[in-house]
Each structure stands twice: as structure tokens, then as C-alpha cells.
Symmetry: C2
Subunit: 106 residues, 2 copies
């Protein structure tokens, strides 16, 4: 099962590292507990909408960018390549297992 919190955590961590900030800095600026933010980044806790907004602001990133990036990453996990909308895999000669590794949600 694809879990949105796992992707949100990955995106938040990647953005934080891109900006060269520590967990402590972001947690402090967002006024959230360091341990909680760490669990969110590891996909172990759901971030409430209020926490997400505070962390996005602390990272100087619009929430829309975060959600779009989450959508893009989940799209890869769901195995939804654009080509499958155009040419069926058997006609294109592609191995469906390579093109769409996870089909359970289609």
C-alpha cells in the first residue's frame, strides 16, 4: 500500500537537506518538537495540516510545491508512465513488469 505520509516525510527531509538546515533548526522555526518532526520525516507519524503549514513556512517552500512533489513521487510508485496512456505495453513491445512495477492500485 502506498502511504502518503512516507512520501511527505521524504519530500520534507529532501527539501531540508537541499537547504542545508538541521532538524533542530526547522523544528525550532516551525515550533514543533524535534522528535515529532523526525518521526514525520521518517514516515512514522502523520503530520497534521497545521504542522505541514508550519514546516513548509519554516523551509520557505510553498505547500503546493510539497504536495505536487508528493504527487509526482507517488505517480512513479503507482507505475503510471505517460506512455501507458498512449500505446498498450504489448503493442509497444515493453515488459509491463518494467514499465509499471506496482499495479495494485490501478
Amino acid at each position: 500500500m502506498i502511504l502518503v505520509r512516507q512520501e511527505i516525510g521524504d519530500v520534507l527531509r529532501d527539501l531540508r537537506l537541499q537547504k542545508g538546515r538541521t532538524l533542530r533548526q526547522v523544528a525550532s522555526r516551525a515550533s514543533v518538537a524535534l522528535g515529532y518532526l523526525s518521526e514525520v520525516e521518517r514516515g512514522q507519524k502523520e503530520a497534521s495540516s497545521e504542522i505541514l503549514a508550519a514546516v513548509a513556512e519554516a523551509l520557505d517552500v510553498p505547500i503546493s510545491n510539497i504536495m505536487r512533489e508528493v504527487g509526482d513521487r507517488i505517480s512513479v510508485l503507482e507505475g503510471l508512465p505517460v506512455i501507458s496512456d498512449v500505446v498498450p505495453d504489448d503493442i509497444a513491445g515493453l515488459d509491463p513488469d518494467l514499465v509499471a512495477p506496482e499495479l495494485s492500485l490501478r
Copy 2:
């Protein structure tokens, strides 16, 4: 403050109505309580990642589509038109209040 759960709720409701399904049908298929799904749709409850996955599957919609649509809607709320990345509002002759009605998170 922009709340992700409000946009997720709106998107889930819009998708359900587009497909002509009732709350009862989707709740039953997703194995979630009808009252809970109703609160999620109204942005009053955070949906866990597991619930989101179950509701997306019940709606026959990839989670990635839901998250991208949420990102797009939040982008509008954040007042992040593409033009602002290219031509400053004062040069383009646009009224910033019209182009970007909500600036609190930028």
C-alpha cells in the same frame, strides 16, 4: 493558514460527485465509517494515509492524481501564478493584489 485537509476533502468530494457515487457507497467500499468520510470531505478530520489509500481505491483514482490536484488547488490559494516567475508584476503592469491574493505564505 492553508490547510491541506480542506483541499483533500474538497478533491475527494468532487471526485466522488464526478463519478456519481454516494458517501454511503464510497464509505462502504473503502471500509470506513460514513460519518468519518463525511468529516474528511468537509475538511474537519485529517485522513490517515491508510484511509486515503482506501478511499482512492474505492473511487478508482490513483492517489497521485489526488495529491497533484491538491497541489494545484493550493497553488491557486497561495497565489503562485507561473507569470510571477518570469515577469515581475510591476513590469508586466499587473496589479499584484489581483495576481496573488494570498501572500502570507510566500
